[in-house]
Symmetry: C2
Subunit: 140 residues, 2 copies
């Protein structure tokens, strides 16, 4: 299967991304320090969103099959950039935060593990250059 | 330097990403085939936007220093997914498309090469798992 996007220059450091599978557009921009105007997220920030979204969707759909529904589910992703060019995330921490009554820890751990080891294609790609650490946090 | 995002579950397969450096939010969703409602881009699509945006910003800022301003600049990114889980982009094609009068091909080639080999952190990360091919297309 193929996926395609266009990233079209607007002006200065602003670009508009068009996604071929739907009509949505995303503006991306740089920060003022490098000539941007912060009109949208930076490209590298989107990479963290991509990782968080990929594993979050795996986990919620696996939990649904296990008939587990949290009241709240948030995936926090924090990346640390190298100092030298090319600047990339040498380490990434993924915190899976759940809230709900009597959530079954064993099922949650299994869902996260299945995503990390078997289903999440973004994790598969990024783990070759980043040390990815994850934590499961269940709040009552 | 650290960057952080939150990817918070809304309902079904929809998640809202909050970017800590600005107030923008991005909705992400899955396609109907896997229980989504197409309310936003898929996580893997964002990875292609991240790659296209990263290299596009490098190229336009290097060209600016060289005093080259295209009339039009678009970076087309096409990724091909593996058939088996975890599904990831085993190959990615990046087309740099320029329009403008008398654009200097040598400077454009140099700018693209500097991004690919020295500056683009997203390229650096993805090339460990994807075969990345690029083309420069200059239209008059």
């Amino acid at each position: 299967m193929k996926e395609k996007v266009d990233v079209k220059w607007q002006d200065e450091m602003a670009f508009e991304a068009s996604l071929h599978e739907n009509t949505q557009k995303i503006m991306i921009d740089a920060v003022p320090a490098v000539g941007g105007r912060n009109l949208g997220p930076r490209p590298k920030t989107l990479m963290l969103v991509s990782l968080g979204g990929c594993t979050a969707m795996d986990v919620i759909s696996i939990l649904k099959k296990m008939r587990v529904t949290p009241d709240y589910f948030n995936v926090e992703v924090e990346g640390e950039l190298t100092e030298e060019h090319p600047k990339y995330f040498h380490s990434i921490t993924v915190n899976y935060i759940f809230r709900g009554k009597d959530l079954p820890m064993d099922k949650i751990e299994k869902a996260v593990k299945l995503s990390e080891e078997r289903y999440c294609g973004v994790t598969e790609m990024l783990k070759k250059s980043s040390k990815i650490t994850s934590n499961i946090i269940v709040e009552d």
